[in-house]
């Protein structure tokens, strides 16, 4: 066994929980077969979230508030719903997290096992000595056709994991993979939705044959008895299939980990890691954890918790995240957020949102990283930085040093809820946010409910989609304030 392992892990689950009943009741007239599935909730992202922004939020939870993040030297981002086909998505995450530009960034995609594949890549990177600290983020924002089974099953979330040889809470024992062109579903280029084959075939020829083979290979190679597995993680929408596989491979079926389907849904690439977080938040030393994924074959990873697991906790655990969700029973809001319905946006939405890429690059630290300036002479803090300081009565030239705002405490100076300007989630809340220590930004608010905003109230920064340029397929990102 190597020294390499997981040093930290955290989930991000978006705030809203759509009640499945709201979906099935709306669609009962044309999809009566789905009425029985109208139970529980699924986590849905806000309109301004995608797999990149959710990854940033998950990663911030494990990086903490410190400015210095130079310890991270590789980043693997896994998703099948990356916002860009050709722009380094992990590069956006790196810039938002203000990691060093020397960080090796990789996008891992094209299969629902990409989350576990990214994790294996990170283990190998650290194990080989190439990286001392590697970061993995996995996230999907899953889109499905109206009145489909997928619409009910899918959820949105992200998980971030740091891999290191230091402060390890779960050691990496080994992994196994199978690459098999078993097509349970696919999504061609430029297609919005998956195309799915018959569930019984997927279950019998897919899960029940591929996953046992994977497990047997991994356990045999490492001379580990299946009875030693104390936690078995397998995302699978088919009821009782993980238990059947456990029995088939000699694992105690009672050790199958809950898949969070009732509250969160199936979050795709992220899901095995989402379940792993929930396990590690409640583990004891010496537990052997088996994580499996399914898609284009599958991955299996074996971990063993260390003594440090005893002290491991997250400020907001998976249980907290689930408990803190806000119920949403408005199915139309979900459809609108996901651009699944043609709605009247009004002429104000017609504005050209072309992004000047030259400007974005010149101000990349400010726009993506929320980095401003601090005057080395007066200590005045400002956003964005400028050659001449904003210091009252001291317009010092070229004294600005980079100053990171994203993790600083802030509160609302002034605000309004604007019903006039275009918003996908009206009214449009925005205002001036003042940061403790100095600096302020007039910015959008998000994840706001009526009565949540008032002058003096504390806010936190979140990385979100600023706007879509639908004419050119460009997603513009910036930071927003969330009342806390």
């Amino acid at each position: 066994m190597s020294d390499t392992g997981i040093s930290s892990i955290a989930n991000y689950i978006p705030r809203l929980r759509l009640q499945r009943k709201a979906i099935t009741e709306s669609n009962a007239w044309m999809a009566p077969n789905l009425v029985g599935k109208g139970k529980g909730t699924k986590a849905i992202s806000n309109w301004d979230e995608d797999s990149v922004t959710m990854s940033v939020e998950a990663a911030r939870r494990i990086l903490g508030p410190e400015d210095d993040r130079s310890q991270v030297n590789s980043l693997f981002f896994a998703s099948t719903t990356m916002p860009y086909s050709d722009r380094l998505n992990s590069g956006i995450i790196r810039a938002a997290l203000t990691l060093e530009e020397t960080t090796q960034c990789s996008d891992v995609s094209s299969s629902l096992k990409s989350g576990t594949t990214a994790l294996i890549n990170a283990f190998n990177s650290v194990n080989s000595g190439k990286s001392s600290l590697s970061l993995v983020t996995a996230s999907d924002k899953r889109k499905a056709r109206v009145a489909s089974a997928q619409e009910l099953n899918f959820g949105d979330a992200a998980t971030a994991i740091s891999i290191s040889k230091d402060n390890v809470i779960a050691k990496f024992i080994d992994s196994a993979s199978l690459s098999i062109d078993f097509i349970d579903h696919f999504r061609g280029p430029n297609e919005e939705f998956d195309y799915n084959w018959e569930e019984r075939w997927i279950r019998d020829e897919g899960y029940l044959k591929i996953i046992p083979k994977l497990i047997n290979n991994l356990l045999k190679d490492n001379n580990i008895s299946p009875s030693d597995i104390s936690r078995f993680i397998l995302p699978c929408i088919f009821p009782r299939v993980p238990q059947t596989i456990a029995k088939k491979t000699g694992i105690d079926p009672d050790n199958v980990v809950d898949n969070l389907a009732a509250s969160v849904g199936d979050t795709g690439s992220c899901h095995p890691l989402l379940m792993l977080t929930s396990v590690l938040e409640n583990s004891t030393p010496g537990e052997k954890i088996l994580i499996c994924s399914f898609g284009g074959g599958g991955d299996a990873i074996l971990l063993e918790t260390t003594n440090l697991i005893t002290d491991f906790t997250n400020t907001e655990t998976t249980v907290d995240l689930i408990d803190n969700g806000v119920d949403e029973d408005n199915y139309m809001k979900y459809l609108t957020f996901n651009d699944l319905v043609k709605w009247e946006k009004g002429m104000r939405a017609e504005i050209d949102r072309k992004t000047a890429l030259t400007t974005l690059y010149r101000h990349n630290d400010a726009i993506i990283g929320l980095v401003g300036g601090k005057c080395s002479k007066t200590g005045t803090i400002q956003f964005p930085a400028s050659r001449i300081s904003v210091s009252p009565n001291s317009p010092d030239l070229d004294t600005q040093e980079p100053y990171k705002f994203a993790e600083k405490r802030a509160n609302i100076l002034s605000w309004s809820a604007d019903y006039l300007s275009f918003s996908i989630n009206p009214p449009n809340y925005y205002g001036i946010v003042s940061f403790e220590g100095g600096g302020r930004i007039m910015m959008d608010f998000t994840d706001v409910g009526e009565g949540d905003v008032e002058s003096g109230k504390d806010v936190k920064m979140v990385f979100r989609i600023k706007a879509f340029d639908e004419a050119r397929g460009f997603t513009r990102y910036f930071w927003k304030a969330v009342p806390i």
Partner: protein
């Protein structure tokens, strides 16, 4: 210190088009309407003009860029036409250019004309502003009411005024302007409203409802200026002269530095102090006869009363509710209806404010005429509370 502009330049002619939804009127026609009235009032011919300044804010609707639209519409005799743009204070900027040219001796007679044709957008309200290539990547995709509405949240937090009391006070600001506008045949909105109507109107940007927002109008206004000596040689008597012209522009302090609390206009206080000094006014609450302020939103007007040092800080709510700024109050404000009811064709508004002061000082304001005003102040603001340009002008009898 500079000697200032006081009494160096006289206004000899002014004109103002009817403001409103002028569906059948082109930008050129609006310019002609204001120009003909101003030139008739001045009693001069086009070839007596030495220079022109043209204010026009939004060039993707209206007449486009440059000085040529004005020169062509008015068939000016190939004199200089300088187009100026300074947000909603553009009209005051055109006036400043013309006045300074005359004061400098570069022109004997100059004309300032502002025009805006806003009702070619296809919807109510203003089109989205252009903030360059960086602004939209950082700033909220908001609107003018959303930006100005923030004054209310900061004002209530600072002064401990309840949201309900402030809402009623700003409602009174609009009720007063509607009452004044009802007496103005050139005003866009000429109907009186009640406080209850204002307070129960649909919300635009909290806490501003529909009646807290000014009219979005088509219109033009113009001023002909010259030296007092030339004015007299033209046979003019009872001259109206420029007493002060000040412009203060934000340098980013409000939007970037935590020393500004969001409840007032930093620039207005600076421009007002300079204007009073230039005009020799020491007690504005007593010495200013009347005002036209930039009431783009009712909350803007209320806050501005304090920033112009007419109301004490934190006391504008009481002054407004006491009727201090009503037509029969001590300092009547928006006697022509203001932006609220006369309307707000952006490039014309600064000149429209001066037009009413000019009429009042000459006793030509018909049903709106105040008794013996001697000093009129105009306050023309562009941008938004956190980032703006503010013009304060004072004119009076020479």
């Amino acid at each position: 210190m500079a000697s200032g502009i006081k009494d160096k330049v006289a206004i000899v002619g002014m004109g103002c088009s009817k403001f409103g939804e002028r569906w059948d009127t082109s930008p050129d026609d609006l310019m002609v309407e204001a120009y003909v009235e101003a030139m008739d009032d001045a009693g001069i011919e086009p070839n007596q003009l030495d220079a022109a300044w043209f204010s026009h804010h939004i060039d993707d609707i209206g007449s486009g860029k440059g000085g040529t639209p004005m020169s062509i519409a008015l068939r000016l005799p190939n004199i200089s036409v300088t187009r100026v743009e300074n947000y909603c204070a553009s009209g005051s900027e055109a006036f400043r250019g013309a006045v300074y040219a005359v004061a400098a001796g570069a022109a004997d007679i100059a004309i300032a004309l502002g025009m805006e044709k806003l009702k070619d957008t296809g919807y109510g309200g203003l089109p989205a502003a252009n903030y360059g290539t960086l602004g939209p990547q950082i700033g909220p995709s908001g609107s003018a009411p959303g930006n100005f509405a923030q004054l209310a949240s900061a004002y209530t937090a600072k002064h401990g005024v309840s949201a309900e009391d402030l809402k009623r006070a700003i409602a009174h600001v609009s009720v007063k302007s509607h009452a004044n506008g009802a007496l103005n045949p050139k005003a866009h909105l000429q109907k009186e409203v009640t406080e209850e109507q204002v307070m129960n109107a649909p919300m635009i940007a909290e806490p501003l409802g529909l009646f807290d927002c000014c009219g979005v109008s088509d219109g033009a206004a113009a001023a002909v200026v010259t030296t007092p000596e030339i004015a007299k040689s033209l046979g003019k008597k009872d001259l109206i002269s420029v007493k002060a012209l000040q412009l203060s522009v934000s340098n980013g302090l409000e939007s970037q530095h935590n020393s500004w609390d969001g409840s007032y206009f930093h620039t207005v206080r600076i421009a007002a102090k300079k204007a009073y000094a230039e005009a020799g006014i020491t007690n504005p609450r007593k010495e200013i006869s009347m005002m036209e302020v930039h009431d783009c939103f009712s909350i803007t007007e209320l806050v501005t009363m304090e920033d112009l040092f007419i109301s004490e800080e934190g006391n504008a709510v009481n002054d407004v509710m006491d009727g201090f700024y009503d037509s029969d109050g001590q300092v009547p404000c928006q006697i022509d209806g203001g932006l609220k009811c006369f309307g707000h064709p952006i490039g014309a508004s600064g000149l429209r404010m001066l037009y009413e002061m000019y009429l009042q000082l000459q006793g030509k304001a018909d049903k709106r005429q105040l008794s013996s005003p001697s000093v009129g102040l105009t306050h023309n603001l562009g941008g938004q509370p956190a980032n703006n340009v503010c013009s304060v002008a004072i004119i009076g009898s020479l």
